[in-house]
C-alpha cells in the first residue's frame, strides 16, 4: 500500500536571504502508512514543529516534496487547501487559538470552513467533544472560562471535528499534570481505534509515547537520526542519551537483566510488558526440576 504521507529530501530554511538564515530541517525522508501511530521525538529545537507544519502545507519546503496519497500537496492551491482538512494539525499550546463565544462554535470552526451542512457539523462537533472528554454542558460556555486542561481538550476537538485522515499533535500534553497527560493520550488512542486514522504524535517524553506508538522517529539537529519500532530505538540508549534524550527506565532495567543472563525479550519497555516477561521467567524457572 502506498504511504498516506511521504516526504522526499525535505529541507527548510528560516529567514532565507537574511543574515539570520538557518537550516531548520534538512534531508528528511519520512513516510507514514494508513492507520499507523507514529511518535516523533527530539530535543528542543531539533525541528519537529517545523517538520510537521510541512505535512499539511502550512510551511513550504525550501527544497524537496511532500506527498499526500502520492500527490504533491503543492501541486495546486485547491489541493493544498483540501489537504489542510485531511491532515489535521494540533499546534503546541493550541489553547491560545480559541476565539469563539462558545466552545461549541469554536469546535465548529473547522467543519464550518469545510462547508459541511448544519447537521453534519453538529454530529462532528459532538463526536469530537466526546472523544476528548468535553462534557455536553461545557459546550455552551465561553472557551475563556475553562481551565487550561479543558481549553487544551477543546482545541484538540476543534481539529478532530474535521475528521482528518491524519491527525498530527504537537506536544499535546505539554504543561499538563500526569493524570491530564494520561487521559489526553488515552483519548487520542481511543480516537485512533474508532476512526482508524493515522496519528503522528510529537513529544519530548519517551515514557509517554513508548506505550502508545507503533513507530518512533528520532529527530536530532534537523535530521532524522533513527526510525523504527520503539524496541529497536530503545536499544541505542547510549546514542539517545548523547543527544539529550532518555529511554524509558523499564527498558534500561530489562537491558541490564538481559546482560545478567535472564531471557527477557528486547521488545520489553513498559511496566506491563516487564511484569509479564518477569512472571514468565519465574514460571519457567519454577517449571524446571
Amino acid at each position: 500500500m502506498a504511504p498516506i504521507i511521504k516526504t522526499e529530501n525535505l529541507r527548510h530554511l528560516y529567514s532565507e536571504g537574511t543574515p539570520f538564515e538557518h537550516v531548520a530541517i534538512d534531508d528528511i525522508n519520512f513516510s507514514a502508512e494508513k492507520g499507523e501511530i507514529i511518535g516523533i521525538i527530539g530535543h528542543t529545537g531539533s525541528g519537529k514543529s517545523t517538520f510537521i507544519q510541512h505535512l499539511n502545507g502550512l510551511l513550504k519546503p525550501s527544497s524537496g516534496r511532500v506527498l499526500f496519497n502520492g500527490e504533491d500537496i503543492f501541486s495546486s492551491k485547491t489541493f493544498t487547501h483540501e489537504v489542510r482538512f485531511k491532515v489535521g494539525l494540533v499546534f503546541q499550546y493550541p489553547e491560545y487559538q480559541l476565539f469563539e463565544e462558545t466552545v461549541y462554535k469554536d469546535i465548529a470552526f473547522g467543519p464550518k470552513n469545510m462547508k459541511l451542512s448544519e447537521e453534519q457539523i453538529d454530529i462532528s462537533v459532538r463526536g469530537a467533544a466526546e472523544f476528548v472528554g468535553v462534557d455536553e454542558e461545557l459546550l455552551n460556555k465561553s472557551p475563556f472560562d475553562l481551565s487550561g486542561g479543558q481549553k487544551r481538550r477543546v482545541a484538540i476537538a476543534g481539529v478532530m471535528a474535521m475528521q482528518p485522515d491524519v491527525l498530527i499533535l504537537d506536544e499535546p500534553t505539554a504543561g499538563l499534570d500526569p493524570s491530564g497527560r494520561d487521559s489526553i493520550i488515552t483519548n487520542i488512542l481511543r480516537y485512533h481505534d474508532a476512526t482508524g486514522c493515522t496519528i503522528i504524535l510529537v513529544t519530548h517524553s519517551m515514557e509517554e509515547i513508548a506505550r502508545s506508538v507503533d513507530r518512533l522517529v528520532v529527530f536530532n539537529k534537523g535530521h532524522i537520526m533513527m526510525d523504527g519500532a520503539p524496541s529497536e530505538v530503545f536499544e541505542h540508549d547510549e546514542e539517545l542519551r548523547s543527544v539529550g534524550l532518555s529511554v524509558p527506565e523499564v527498558s534500561l532495567v530489562a537491558k541490564r537483566l538481559r546482560q545478567l543472563g535472564l531471557p527477557i525479550d528486547r521488545s520489553v519497555y513498559t511496566v506491563e510488558q516487564a511484569k509479564k516477561a518477569l512472571l514468565a521467567v519465574r514460571g519457567g524457572a519454577a517449571g524446571a526440576p
Binding site: 537574511t18 499539511n56 502550512l58 489542510r84 491560545y96 470552526f109 475563556f144 474535521m162
Partner: protein, 267 residues
Amino acid sequence: MLRDVTLGQYFPGDTIVHRLDPRTKLTLTLIYIVALFLAVDYFSYAVMIVVLAACIIISKIKLRVILRGVKPLLIVIIITGLLNLFYTKGEPILSFWIIKITVEGIKRAVFMILRIVMLIMGSFLLTYTTSPVALTDGLESLLSPLKKLRFPVHELAMMMSIALRFIPTLIEETDKIMSAQKARGANFETGNLFQRAKALLPLLIPLFISAFRRADELAVAMESRCYNGGEGRTKMKSLHMAPRDWIALFLGALLLAGMIVMNVYKI
C-alpha cells in the same frame, strides 16, 4: 512571511558604525537629514551620496537589505516624482496634450526622489546598526534636559523599549495563531473586503487576549522587582562617549557646515 517585515530591524554586527554611541548616531542622523534638505545642486547631492555610501560600506550592511526598506514607499516616491516632473514651470522640452515636461521638472523630480530615497536609507541605516534598546537609551539620554520641564522622558523611553521589545513577539504570535487557524481551514487571502475583515476575527481575538495577558504578566514581573519609575534608577550598560564618537560628531558638524555654505552660495 510576516516575520520578514524588516521595519526597524536590527542586524547585529561589529563595525565602527555599530559601535558608535547611540546618541552620536541619533545626532548624526539628524544632521544627515538636515543636510539632505540643504542640498540644492549636483555637487551637494554628490557629496551626500558619497557620505551615505561610505557609511553603508563601513557598516557592512548589504545594499539590497537597505533598499528593501524603500520598497513599501515606492508608490509615494513615484507619485512625488511624477508631480514634480509635470508641475514644475520652466522651459518645456516635450509637450503633448496638457502635459509639459521641462528641464527643471526633470531635475527637480530626480532630486526629490533622490532626497526621499536617501532619507529612508539613512534612517534605516540607523535602525539596522543600533539595537532598539540602545536606541531608546540614547533617546532618553538626549531628551533628558526635558525632565526639567516635567516631561516624562523616562516613562516614554520605557514604553518605547517595551513596545519595541514586543513587536517581534507579537509578530511571532500572529504567525503562530494564523497558522493554527489556517490548519482549521481559515482563509485570510481571498474574498471581498467584508469577508476578509471577518476572517481576521479568529486571528485578532486570540492576539488581543494574549497581548493583554502579556502586559499583565510583565507589569507584575516589573513590580515584583520593585520597578517604580526612573527616579534613582541606574543602568547596567551606561552610555559612554568614546574618542571615535567625538571624531564622528566633528565630521558630522563639518558636513553640516559645508552643506550650509554650499546652500548659501548655490553650489
